[in-house]
């Protein structure tokens, strides 16, 4: 029973990782950039949600929506200011810029409101314990899981059924050819950042409700772990990010369940190094030969 309990916790945690990982994987798939600032967009989302709930007295879903919109705008803004001028620069230059943006958001936030953590109001969602075959599941975690699943289905619909989704797939396949076919590559990249950041914003609000405490540096570790999840599933592959996130969440919960909760953060990185050594293209990835 203990095992199933941990599995349930792991899936809740994993769905948060999966939401963040989707943003990483979409951005990487389209511009080959590890967007280090993504974890901080997640943090901003959590704070927008917090202020929407406590300041504007919004409910869960309006706050979620507001956080998603603000984060989408932030994502596009970051992309236009910091990454677009570097489209033809070296990979290292873009990676360093991404680290710079990440630190700027973190410390800008600390500068603006101080480093002290705040607590999400616990009454925003009904919290009932449901007993199911001896396993306690809170109604919150069910709602969280449902929200994540709905968002993921929505993403799949956008990517596969809409025009902008088609453009995204085309650009990630071959940006030059897509440009020749009349696709506006810059707008498509901005749209990818917007969607990825909106998902991160949603993950931020969900994280806040699930873990209560939020602070300006909270984005670093979940951001890195979500990246691990994206690599685990095969970076650039959307279903891979979902599965990678859930797998990572379950592994972490099992490790804490076994009584090694202090080692929880280390396990994610050990998983990362193992996957990079044995299967660098990820669980769902294909091995691509390098051409000169």
């Amino acid at each position: 029973m203990e095992l199933i309990q941990q599995l349930v916790n792991g899936i809740s945690l994993g769905s948060i990782y999966a939401l963040i990982a989707l943003g990483y994987t979409m951005v990487y798939g389209i511009v080959r950039l590890i967007n280090f600032a993504h974890g901080d967009v997640f943090m901003v989302g959590a704070f927008v949600g917090f202020y929407a709930i406590t300041g504007l007295h919004l409910g869960f879903f309006p706050a979620l929506l507001l956080a998603m919109v603000v984060c989408a705008l932030l994502g596009v803004f970051i992309e236009r200011i910091a990454y677009k001028p570097l489209r033809n620069a070296t990979r290292i230059a873009v990676l360093i810029t991404a680290i710079g943006v990440s630190l700027l958001i973190e410390y800008g936030m600390i500068y603006a409101r101080g480093a002290q953590p705040v607590a999400y109001p616990g009454t925003i969602l009904p919290d009932k314990k449901i007993e199911l075959f001896g396993v306690t599941i809170s109604s919150q975690s069910i709602l969280i899981l449902c929200t994540s699943i709905v968002l993921m289905i929505l993403l799949q619909l956008i990517v596969h059924k809409t025009k902008i989704g088609k453009a995204m797939r085309a650009v990630s396949y071959d940006a030059e050819a897509a440009r020749l076919m009349g696709i506006n590559v810059d707008n498509t990249i901005s749209a990818t950042f917007a969607i990825g950041s909106a998902l991160a914003g949603a993950a931020g609000v969900i994280f806040g409700i699930y873990y209560i405490k939020i602070e300006p540096l909270m984005g670093i570790i979940p951001g890195l772990k979500a990246f691990v999840a994206a690599v685990l599933g095969g970076i650039g592959i959307i279903p891979g990010a979902m599965v990678g996130g859930l797998v990572l969440g379950v592994i972490e919960s099992l490790v804490s369940g076994l009584g090694y909760s202090l080692w929880r953060d280390g396990v994610a990185f050990i998983v990362l190094i193992l996957i990079l050594i044995f299967r660098p293209s990820g669980l769902f990835g294909k091995n691509v030969k390098e051409k000169v």
Binding site: A93, L95, I96, L104, L224, L262, L272, I273, L276
Partner: protein, 324 residues
């Protein structure tokens, strides 16, 4: 003739370095420099060692490592264990710190250096985090509360280590091995097809870099009175990275200058850590947007002098990576 000139330049800079060392030593022993300046000077020298060691990995070999604080931590803890737990002399402790970090570099380098670019960056980042988490959980070295270390770092030690690090890495860069490393930076596939054992050279550069980071760790640990795992987080790696990037990827003198400048700046901004990080990150973004090759690019400081001579007469070789 050129060899003669280069040797001349080398001895000239050695003499200058020794004069500088003696002057500072005299100032310290006469008590003219107060402890604030002495501390800044030590910190500067340690940062130079770190900058130069990372420069070898990123600037020369082109392997993007962002977990350098991990090696610093390994060196710091290994040397602290040697002096505090095993009562060994400081010299042996420094060496042990360097060797332990080099072994860690070898262990992490062999599997991960097969990866390229972003993946390598993330793997080294993961390594740095793993080191931090292990140190947090091992009670022998004090866990989260850290270890208290006696103050053993002195100016001769710091200066000697800095000088050795600079000379070794400069000479390595100028040797056959260094040129092989540069060719890997320029184009790994081409280097491979020219018969260069790329894995061997990448791992060699990585191990040398981590050795000196370990030495720096030993100096660092015995300069501050306490070491804690939180001192060696991602931000520390980032601090070292910014030296190399701002100085110019591939320029050793650039890395040294950036290390000196930024140490001074961060000492003055010590009371405002948030402002310091905001300034750092804005500078980093602006440099990448408007001058992506950094302060000096791949040039060395001395090549500017040589350039002037070349205009007067004689052909200049701009691809030389000489120090001096």
């Amino acid at each position: 003739m050129t060899i003669f000139k280069r040797i001349n330049g080398f001895w000239l800079s050695m003499v200058l370095a020794i004069v500088f060392f003696i002057v500072v030593q005299l100032l310290i022993s006469r008590g003219i420099l107060n402890s604030f300046y002495i501390n800044t000077l030590f910190y500067m020298a340690i940062n130079i060692i770190l900058a130069v060691s990372l420069h070898l990995i990123i600037g020369i070999t082109g392997q993007f490592s962002i977990g350098h604080a991990g090696f610093l931590a390994v060196g710091a803890y290994a040397s602290a264990v040697m002096t505090m737990k095993l009562q060994m002399p400081f010299s042996l402790a420094l060496l042990a710190g360097g060797v332990t970090a080099a072994v860690a570099g070898l262990l992490i380098g062999i599997p991960t250096l097969r990866l390229k670019g972003d993946y390598l960056a993330i793997a080294t980042l993961g390594f740095g985090e793993i080191v931090r988490i292990i140190l947090l959980n091992v009670d022998y070295v004090g866990g989260a509360s850290g270890m208290t270390v006696t103050h053993l770092t002195t100016w001769p030690w710091v200066f000697a280590c800095m000088l050795i690090a600079i000379i070794v890495i400069a000479n390595f860069t100028n040797s056959t091995h260094g040129r092989a490393c540069i060719s890997i930076r320029e184009d790994e596939i081409a280097a491979d097809s020219m018969g260069i054992n790329t894995t061997y050279y990448k791992v060699t550069a990585f191990v040398i870099g981590s050795f000196f980071a370990g030495i720096a760790g030993g100096l660092y640990a015995h300069n501050f009175y306490i070491i804690q795992p939180t001192n060696f987080g991602f931000l520390k790696s980032f601090d070292i990275l910014i030296f190399v990037v701002l100085g110019g990827l591939g320029s050793m003198s650039g890395a040294v200058i950036a290390a000196i400048l930024l140490t001074v700046v961060s000492t003055f901004l010590q009371e405002y850590p948030e402002t310091r990080m905001i300034i750092y990150s804005i500078v980093l973004i602006l440099v990448m947007l408007y001058r992506p090759k950094g302060l000096l690019g791949t040039q060395e400081l001395t090549s500017f002098f040589r350039l002037r001579k070349a205009v007067e007469g004689g052909k200049q070789n701009d691809n030389k990576h000489t120090v001096a």
